[in-house]
Every structure is written in structure tokens, then in C-alpha cells.
């Protein structure tokens, strides 16, 4: 019931607000606020205090009651303000393999000279993530999104909420960004990597990173694998650098959907994913051929993502509008 109601309200708010574009600033018109259960309890408490004060015609008790009532109203505004003005600067869905947990990374910026306490991000069915944001600072929130099947996961119903400072009210805002999480097929398969020519599976060819030729270091770019980061140099105080190897000497792999005839589609995709992961880890160059298209020989995180995404979306409609993370 509660979930149904929440979904209805969320869709009403969506019609009202329209879709969002980054950066999303939390202004007055998009912040909603209601008392929490503790808030209703506190209201009842105040009512009892009020009746007692009137009954005894007791000035001190009445003053206390009025004061606390004012305090609650101040709390209402403070709670609203705790969210007001925060800007959602970035929202990135970090892909994962089916069965694993994808990540939604949110970057929140607090432009005001005041401390934001306990800003929560939540999605239906997902454990919320909480952070404080210091004055004129940004903070990162990450939500773990559990997945089951490969494909495209539409992230819907993202909420930023807070109940601070006193827990008597909860202010929230819905964020309607076209966010989707690419879920790669599970990387699993029993077949060994195809040989260099891609003809004899099981042939004894071992590439491995050890055989790679050292090329040099370059600056870290988003999407680089943590395995390639020169952590030792970083620990010595150098900026974040990435070790680059020359793949010229490494074998080249050709992965082809059609060459796995004994398996059904999903198994094939899983096998291909396993190979891609394996080849990338070895630092080899690889190409992927799917019935719908072809990805040329290359290596690196970008290439890996392109390949795995192609596998994830294989056979799916271009932009199927999936439900929220339904489980």
C-alpha cells in the first residue's frame, strides 16, 4: 500500500515537475515535506501538554508548550532548508555484471555557508545512503543497486531526503534524470580463450601481462581500471598515474558470437563476457563480432565497456522503458 502510494505520488510529482537535467538544484518548488511518525507523536505530546497547561491554568506550562510548538515549526523550516539549495552535480551509474551490485554515484554540492546534516539518497528497494555536507563543499553518495539479469536497468524514483535536524519532519525531493544502469552478462564460461587467430579454442597460447612491453605512464582518466594505476608512485606522492603497456607484442583475440554454436544465446553472451574480461586483464587486444555489429580490435577500459555493453544490450529494444528496479 505504502509503496503503491509512494509510486503514485512520485508519478504525480513527475508530471508536475517534468524531467530534470543536470545539475539539479533543490529549489522551493520541488521540495516536499511531511511530519514523520515521531513528528506526529510530538504533536500529540504537545497537545497533551497544552490541555494540561490549560487545565491547571499554569502559565509556565503553557509557555513551555507554546515554546516547544514554535521549536517544532522552526524544525520544520530547518528540515526544509537542510535540503534547500543543494545541487546534484553528477549522477553516474557504474555498470556491473548481472548478479553483482551496480553503483549509482551521486555528487552533491552545498553552495551555502551552512552544514548539511544527514542527506540521504534512496531508491525503492535499495538501502539508502547517507552523508553530511560541509559548508561550501561537495560530497559523494553511492547507492548499491542489486541486479539479476543483463540488460538495461532504468533508475526511477530517485529521492533525496532528510529528516534532520530534529527528526520530526522529513523533507524530500524526487529527481527525474534519464539514468540507466548497464548490466553486463555474467562473466562465466568453461571455454578457454580462443587462440590468436581465433580458430582453435584450447590451444596453448599464453599472453599475460608479464609479456607486455612497458610503454610508460600517463595521467589517470575516468574509466581507467584500478589495476593499471601506478599505486606505488601514488603512495610516494605523485599524481594518479596509469601504467601503459604496449600491446604490440600481445596476441590478438577475435571473439565471435557465431562461433559458439553449441550454446544458447545467454550462455554465449556470458562466455564472451568472460573472455573479454580475461583478455582485458591480460592486456591483450580483442575484437568482438555480434550478429548486429562488430567492434574492431582494441583494448582498454573504454573498449571493454563498449564490448560488454554490446553484449548486455544484445537482442534488446533500443531503449526499453523498464520499471524501476523491480524485485
Amino acid at each position: 500500500m505504502k509503496r503503491f502510494l509512494r509510486a503514485r505520488i512520485a508519478s504525480w510529482a513527475r508530471r508536475r515537475q517534468g524531467a530534470d537535467v543536470l545539475p539539479v538544484t533543490m529549489h522551493y518548488r520541488r521540495i516536499y515535506i511531511l511530519p514523520t511518525r515521531a513528528g506526529w507523536g510530538f504533536a500529540f505530546l504537545l497537545f497533551c501538554m497544552f490541555v494540561a497547561g490549560l487545565n491547571y491554568s499554569n502559565s509556565t506550562a503553557l509557555f513551555l508548550t507554546f515554546w516547544l510548538a514554535g521549536f517544532v515549526l522552526v524544525g520544520l523550516h530547518r528540515c526544509h532548508r537542510n535540503l534547500l539549495g543543494i545541487a546534484l552535480q553528477g549522477a553516474t551509474a557504474v555498470p556491473t555484471f548481472a548478479g553483482g551490485a551496480g553503483e549509482l554515484e551521486l555528487t552533491l554540492e552545498n553552495p551555502a555557508p551552512l552544514m548539511r546534516l544527514r542527506i540521504e539518497a534512496d531508491l525503492p528497494g535499495v538501502a539508502p545512503s547517507v552523508t553530511d555536507i560541509a559548508p561550501r563543499c561537495a560530497a559523494r553518495l553511492s547507492l548499491a543497486l542489486p541486479t539479476t539479469v543483463r540488460g538495461r536497468l532504468l533508475i526511477d524514483g530517485l529521492r533525496l531526503t532528510t529528516a534532520l535536524p530534529f527528526g520530526l519532519f522529513r523533507a524530500w525531493t524526487w529527481v527525474y534524470l534519464p539514468l540507466e544502469l548497464i548490466v553486463y552478462p555474467r562473466a562465466r564460461g568453461f571455454l578457454p580463450l580462443p587462440t590468436v587467430a581465433g580458430v582453435t579454442p584450447g590451444a596453448k597460447t599464453r599472453g599475460g601481462s608479464g609479456g607486455d612491453e612497458w610503454l610508460g605512464l600517463r595521467a589517470f582518466r575516468d574509466g581507467d581500471s584500478p589495476h593499471q594505476v601506478a599505486w606505488k608512485a601514488y603512495a610516494r606522492g605523485a599524481p594518479l598515474l596509469v601504467k601503459e603497456y604496449c600491446a604490440a607484442a600481445a596476441p590478438e583475440r577475435y571473439f565471435d558470437f557465431e562461433r559458439l554454436p553449441n550454446l544458447d544465446t545467454e550462455r554465449r553472451l556470458e562466455q564472451l563476457a568472460a573472455w573479454i574480461v580475461d583478455a582485458e586483464n591480460r592486456g591483450e587486444r580483442y575484437a568482438l563480432t555480434l550478429p548486429g555489429g562488430k567492434l574492431a580490435l582494441d583494448r582498454g577500459a573504454q573498449h571493454r565497456h563498449r564490448c560488454l555493453s554490446a553484449l548486455a544490450l544484445h537482442g534488446l529494444a533500443p531503449a526499453r522503458r523498464a520499471a524501476a528496479i523491480a524485485r
Binding site: 490549560l54 502559565s59 509556565t60 509557555f63 510548538a69 522552526v74 544527514r118 534532520l164
Partner: protein, 658 residues
């Protein structure tokens, strides 16, 4: 968790002198246990043990109070149940419940006592509860306690105006829908009987009895007699009010100017409302105006009570006293105090009329070698005989008793009046404070053709007693501490100031009622204020506060430029944006000005110099005081800038005019 426990314990401690010792012990034990649990030193108490504990403790409360109802039992129940709740507090919800209980305990303390001196404690506890609320809502470490306390304190401060508005203008309904508590705070004041020695106990007490504020003239010291119980019935040792039947009092003629005043009684569990002798009538329909000019309330005075009264210090009555009344007021127990009767008979024989007899008795007191003392020897059962012919040492009670006995023995109707005499003028508060030590007894005698006349035999023996306090005459009568407090001039001044403050608090705040509310409105200029005016004041106060608080809190949420110059620049940009040409985020002031010249030449003459000036102030070689002055000038120019919404000849404008 620590804060929740602290808030609850503090709330309970506010009531600590009202709850039995075992309940305090339970509280401390539970708090200590839960602290140990929080520190992982003790396991949490298992559920069955909690249930048994609950049952046992509730039984204890019932056994102590024989009820769970009412303020005292309710407070103890709250303390006990809250303590048990502490034991099972785990989540946020439990903590909220405990904090709610703590707030209720604070309320109970407020209901119980509203003394000004306790106010700081209440304030501190409220702040503690609010901080605990914040800490509980935050949950977990990482919140600096200084920050939390500051936030809670600021929130309370912001709420203060609303509290004041509601306090002043929320219509005060007459209370008492349910039974009101009996306040056992009362001190014992004058009783309904007087035996030798009973008043001297009061005299040693410096507690306040009541306070009087005169509107207009103040009676001279020798007229400041505060009338209390009138005693008619004498058994030879003790005077009592007696179960005498009321008789019709002869009609009074009031002489001179009346005195108007208001009295605030300190609760004393008696029913007497003291007034300046002689009061004209009852100020309250629940207070009975007795045949001997006393005001007697139906219920004992258990709360601070204020009433207005009107008195004349001189009265006259030409009617004769009825035979029935004469009989009652001349009665003496037979076979008691024989020597007194003998003396009265002797003096009576020599006197021609009643006034001569009275004069003779007064002379007897003046010349008989009597001494004023607060520690007289004990008297035997024929107390008047013993006093008049043996000890000759006593205070007001002895003299009044002996005088009235002599009068009655001589055939003059007389009665003992108890009450207070004098009072200390508080120059800071502008009122008289009458203490228990001002307790007094005097006599009233009936003179045919003139009515009841007051005779104060104490004044004959010790005239200085009336003009000076007990401390001056008999410093040893009061305790050393009181003596020290009330004889050091600086301390006396401080004590008077404190008493005046307390009185103001009691009169203005504690006794605040609908009449005072309407009075405030009238002072604010509302003519013939009534309930609707109150509601209107309340609503406008509420709306004003809400608007203010929304603005005050909301404005800090946005990005605010750090310095004055940046703020003025932001204002300039806002104005220009309203005129239809907004600055792009990447645009510097000069580029912006250039764009305005290109796109909106109508704005350029005013906007361009300002933008150039900003660029100069921000980036040019300006410094020190010059910069400050220039910035101020820039601010003023921006403020004065008026820009039209649209250029004169836009298509929009033209289409409108069609």
C-alpha cells in the same frame, strides 16, 4: 544514547523532591545500567526481567499513592516507566519515547512549581531535551556536541517570539476541567485558635504571608492592621473562633477616604483572605464576607491568589448591639481566672461608664510592669490570671487575651482579632510585604453609640513593636541566619530586589489571565478589546512570525556571496536579468557590458558605468578605506538603479497595445 539518558535523568531530577526515594533509586540504577550497556560492560536486561520489574514498580507506585491518577502519582509513574524504557532503549524510536517522557517530566515540574528561581533549571532542561532530540535524529557518531547544542539553542531562540505571542494572546480559558492538585507547599499561617505561645511560633518565621499593593493613598503605619480570624470563644486558656451562631452585625458608617489595594496571598492552606481593617465587601463570589468582617474562602488557599479590595480604616456604628450578640461577646467560662474577674469587678466599680473602665484597664497595663517578650514563661490553665498577676511577660497574644478577658469580665462586649500588623515596604517593587513574623493579635471592644473599636494592648505595653520590626526589638527571637540576612543593608537591598522580581513574576506571568491579555491589547491601542481582538492579535503574530522565520531560515540556504562588493554585483546582475538580459555564467563584467551595449542599447548608459566600476573595484588598484567607501558608493548606486523590464519597442509591447 548518553544525551537521551541525560535528558530523562535531568527531567526526573527536576521533580526529585516530589518523588519517593525508591523511585529515585530505580531511576539512577536504570540509567547506570543502560550506560554500562552502551559501553558494552553489561548485557541488556532480558525481556521477562523487564516485564517483572515493570509490574513490581507499578505495584509500588499504587501502594505508595493508592492511585495512578493526579500529578504526584503520575510523575512517579512517569519516572518509573521511563526508567524501565531506558533499559530497553535500542533504536531511534525508543529514544524519542524517552525524550518525550523527559519533556513530560519537565511539564510536571512546571505544573508543580513556577517559582522564578527554578526558571533557569527549566530552561536548561528544555535545551537538553532539544539537543537530545537532535542527537537522536542524527544517530551515530560524527556530530560535534557543541554544534548540536548550538543548533538546538538557536532553534529555541528563534521559537521564542512565537512563544511570547501565543503566551500573550492565546485566549486563556478558565481552567480546571479536571481535578486540580492539592499543593502541599503551603506554609502554616494563622490558625483558627489562639493559645498562649501559638503566635510566637509564627513570629520567628520570616516567610512571606502576603503582599499588598496600594492603588493611591497608603494608610499610616498605625492603621496597618490586616484583619484575619476573629476569635469569640474563650475556655480560660485558648481562644477559638468557636461554633458561635452568626449574629446580625450593626450597620457600619464608613468614615474618611477608602483605601484601594490588591493583595496577593502566599498559599498557606488556610481559608482566610486578609484585608486591611475594615473591608467593605467580598471581591469574589466564592469568598464569604462574614458577620465579623472577615473574608473566608470556600477552599483553602493552595495557589497564589490575588484579589482587589476596598477598605476604610475608620468606621462608626450608632445602632445598639443585640442582646444575643452582647451575650456571646461577653461570655467567659465560669470558675476560671477568678482573680481576673475580681480585678475587673474592682475597676468596674470605680468607673462611671464603659469608656472609663476601658481607660482604667489600659492604665493597668501601662503601669503594671508588663514586659514584651517572645519567650515568656509557660502559663498554667488559668492563663489570664497567671499572666496578669504572676509572669507579666508576654507578647501580643497574651495581651489581647488578657485585655479581652478583663473587658468581658467588666461587662464590655469584646473579642480577639488575629491577623497581621505592619509590613515591610519594598521600594523596588512598590508594595508591602507582610511576613509571618508580622502576625499579631489585638482586641475589639463595643462602645455603645460608636460601635466596635480597636484596642491594641500590645501597643500600650510596647509601642515600638508597631513601628519597628521584630528584629529591632527582639533580635534573639529569630534564627541567626535570618538575623544576618535581614540586618546587613546590602543584603536587605538585594533580598528586596529579589522579592520584587519574584512578585513581578508572580503577578505578571504566573497570574497572567484573560483580563491582563485584554489590558495589553488596550495598551497597544485596541479600543474595547475582546476575544476577537485577541484572536486577531494571535493570528497576525503567528503569520508575522511564520513569514519572518521562513525568510530568516530560507535565506541562509542559497549561495551567498562572501563580501559586500560581490553581493552588490549580484544584485546588479539580478536587476539586469529582470530587464531581460541576464549575465552568462562565464561572462566577466566587461564582456557583459559590451553585450549590453550591443543588444540593449537602452540600458547601456546606466548599466555600463556600473559594470565598469565593478571591474575596477574588483580588479583595479584600490585598497584600504578608499575601497570600503567606494564599495559603499557602488552599493548605493546599484540600489538606486531602475531599469525598465523591456525595451520600449519590443514586439511583445506592441502586440499588447493592439
Amino acid at each position: 544514547m548518553l544525551w537521551t539518558i541525560a535528558a530523562f535523568v535531568a527531567g526526573a531530577l527536576l521533580n526529585v523532591d516530589r518523588i519517593p526515594l525508591w523511585a529515585t533509586a530505580v531511576l539512577i540504577a536504570c540509567a547506570a545500567w543502560q550506560l554500562s550497556v552502551a559501553a558494552h560492560k553489561l548485557p541488556a536486561l532480558p525481556k521477562p526481567a523487564q516485564l517483572i520489574l515493570t509490574f513490581v514498580l507499578v505495584t509500588c507506585v499504587v501502594a505508595t499513592f493508592h492511585t495512578l491518577n493526579g500529578l504526584p502519582a503520575g510523575t512517579v509513574l512517569l519516572v518509573v516507566m521511563g526508567s524501565i524504557k531506558l533499559l530497553e532503549t535500542r533504536g531511534r524510536r525508543d529514544r524519542y519515547i524517552v525524550i518525550g517522557a523527559a519533556l513530560f517530566l519537565l511539564l510536571a515540574a512546571c505544573l508543580d512549581r513556577q517559582a522564578l528561581a527554578r526558571l533557569p533549571l527549566y530552561l536548561g532542561d528544555a535545551l537538553l531535551c532539544c539537543t537530545a532530540l537532535l542527537v537522536s535524529a542524527y544517530g551515530g557518531a560524527g556530530l560535534e556536541i557543541r554544534v548540536a547544542a548550538k543548533l538546538a539553542a538557536r532553534s529555541l531562540l528563534l521559537a521564542l517570539p512565537l512563544a511570547l505571542v501565543f503566551f500573550l494572546f492565546f485566549p486563556r480559558l478558565p481552567g480546571g476541567f479536571w481535578a486540580l492538585p492539592a499543593n502541599d507547599d503551603a506554609i502554616t499561617g494563622l490558625g483558627e485558635s489562639m493559645s498562649p505561645g501559638s503566635i510566637s511560633q509564627l513570629t520567628a518565621s520570616y516567610d512571606p504571608a502576603f503582599r499588598v499593593r496600594f492603588a493611591g493613598a497608603i494608610p499610616p503605619p498605625q492603621e496597618r492592621y490586616w484583619r484575619g480570624p476573629v476569635l469569640h470563644d474563650f475556655d480560660g486558656y485558648t481562644w477559638r473562633r468557636g461554633v458561635v451562631e452568626a449574629y446580625r452585625q450593626p450597620a457600619l458608617r464608613y468614615l474618611g477616604e477608602p483605601f484601594r489595594y490588591s493583595v496577593t496571598l502566599v498559599p498557606d492552606a488556610n481559608r482566610w483572605w486578609f484585608t486591611l481593617d475594615t473591608v467593605v465587601g467580598s471581591p469574589d463570589k466564592h469568598v464569604f464576607f462574614s458577620y465579623d468582617y472577615d473574608l473566608i474562602a470556600r477552599e483553602p488557599v493552595t495557589q497564589l491568589t490575588t484579589y482587589d479590595a476596598l477598605s476604610y480604616t475608620h468606621t462608626e456604628s450608632s445602632e445598639p448591639l443585640s442582646n444575643f450578640a452582647r451575650k456571646i461577646e461577653s461570655a467567659l467560662p465560669p470558675n476560671r481566672n477568678p482573680r481576673t474577674r475580681e480585678l475587673a469587678a474592682r475597676l468596674r466599680e470605680r468607673a462611671a461608664a464603659d469608656p472609663d473602665f476601658v481607660r482604667a484597664v489600659i492604665d493597668f497595663f501601662r503601669t503594671g510592669g508588663f514586659q514584651y517578650s517572645l519567650t515568656p514563661p509557660m502559663l498554667d490553665l488559668d492563663s489570664v490570671d497567671d499572666f496578669l498577676f504572676h509572669t507579666r511577660e508576654g507578647f501580643c497574644g497574651h495581651y489581647a487575651s488578657a485585655f479581652v478577658a478583663l473587658m468581658r469580665a467588666g461587662g464590655v462586649p469584646a473579642r480577639v482579632v488575629t491577623g497581621y500588623q505592619g509590613g515591610e515596604w519594598n521600594p523596588i517593587g512598590g508594595y508591602f510585604l507582610i511576613r509571618q513574623s508580622d502576625a499579631h493579635a489585638w482586641a475589639e471592644i463595643w462602645i455603645e453609640g460608636r460601635g466596635w473599636r480597636r484596642v491594641d494592648p500590645t501597643a500600650i505595653v510596647a509601642p515600638e513593636r508597631l513601628s519597628r520590626g521584630i528584629l529591632d526589638i527582639l533580635p534573639n527571637a529569630v534564627s541567626g541566619r535570618t538575623r544576618l540576612l535581614y540586618t546587613t543593608p546590602l543584603l536587605v537591598h538585594l533580598l528586596q530586589g529579589w522579592d520584587a522580581l519574584n512578585t513581578a513574576w508572580n503577578e505578571r506571568i504566573v497570574k497572567f489571565d484573560v483580563n491582563m491579555q485584554l489590558g495589553i491589547l488596550e495598551r497597544l491601542g485596541v479600543r474595547s478589546a475582546d476575544w476577537t481582538a485577541l484572536v486577531a492579535a494571535l493570528a497576525s503574530g503567528l503569520i508575522g512570525w511564520l513569514a519572518w522565520i521562513a525568510w530568516h531560515i530560507g535565506r541562509s540556504a542559497g549561495p551567498r556571496p562572501a563580501d559586500r562588493l560581490a553581493r552588490a554585483y549580484a544584485r546588479l546582475c539580478r536587476k539586469l536579468a529582470r530587464a531581460g538580459i541576464a549575465r552568462d555564467a562565464h561572462e566577466g563584467p566587461l564582456d557583459y557590458a559590451a553585450r549590453i551595449v550591443r543588444r540593449r542599447p537602452d540600458l547601456a548608459p546606466r548599466a555600463q558605468p556600473l559594470l565598469a566600476r565593478y571591474a575596477h573595484l574588483r580588479y583595479g588598484p584600490v585598497g584600504g578605506e578608499v575601497a570600503a567607501a567606494a564599495t559603499a558608493a557602488f552599493e548605493r548606486m546599484v540600489l538606486r538603479l531602475h531599469v525598465a523590464r523591456r525595451p520600449r519597442s519590443t514586439p511583445l509591447r506592441r502586440s499588447k497595445s493592439l
